[in-house]
């Protein structure tokens, strides 16, 4: 029996989601750092 092919569309969505998470998280993090210490 032939193995099912890896779903390329799902992979693309997953990597887009990972990229979006990294970009949004990184932007927020850099904004927080630019505002300086608050301790």
């Amino acid at each position: 029996m032939k193995d099912p092919e890896t779903p390329k569309g799902t992979l693309a969505l997953l990597f887009f989601f990972a990229l979006l998470t990294i970009v949004l998280w990184g932007t927020t993090y850099l904004t927080m750092l630019s505002r300086g210490a608050n301790q």
Partner: protein, 182 residues
């Protein structure tokens, strides 16, 4: 001499993990580790902290003689270093205007007379929950001149559509001139 240990065959099914799935799981773990390290670096190397309870105060003693909140406002501790005692109550901050020179470091001490309030200074990392019975504190450094809006961002009720939580705000004026008052 001990008997050799008999190895029994496992009844567990052979769990095949696809290469893509394994890669995705590894990537997720790596991202979480990087995010965690970045948060640790922010809190230790860059001094960004979450607000802490400075100490407790009974709400009915906030206005008592000798309480710093009975006469709230800005106090200069040293040139460029201030502390601001601010009282939150439905639906205002007292004082609601603070003037400091650019380059100042201000430590905010805030408490509530009645219900839960919020204390957020826009464009800074100052973001605190203000609870009755507790003094919340954070320190900010104002390097850029301008007007910083200060808002209550914890819903605290409303008397009317034009007066309530939505009108509870203040302003911090960071001025070029070396003059401070509240």
């Amino acid at each position: 001499m001990s008997e050799p240990i008999a190895v029994e065959e496992s009844n567990l099914p052979d769990l095949h993990v696809d290469w893509y799935e394994a890669t995705w799981m590894r990537l997720s773990v790596i991202m979480m580790v990087i995010f965690l390290l970045a948060v640790i670096a922010a809190s230790t190397a860059f001094g960004i902290q979450v607000p802490g309870a400075f100490r407790r105060i009974k709400p009915d003693e906030v206005m008592a003689k000798g309480s710093p909140f009975a006469d709230p406002g800005l106090r200069e501790l040293a040139p460029g270093k201030y502390e601001a005692y601010i009282r939150a109550a439905t639906w205002s901050f007292t004082p609601n205007e603070i003037h400091v020179p650019v380059g100042s470091t201000v430590t905010f001490y805030v408490t509530s007379l009645d219900v839960q309030h919020g204390f957020k200074i826009m464009d800074t990392n100052i973001n605190m929950m203000i609870l009755p019975g507790q003094i919340s504190t954070l320190t900010a450094h104002f390097d850029k001149p301008g007007t910083y809006n200060l808002i209550c961002h914890e819903y605290c009720g409303a008397a009317s559509p034009t007066y309530g939580h939505q009108t509870m705000y203040g302003q911090i004026f960071v001025e070029e001139k070396p003059k401070a008052s509240s």
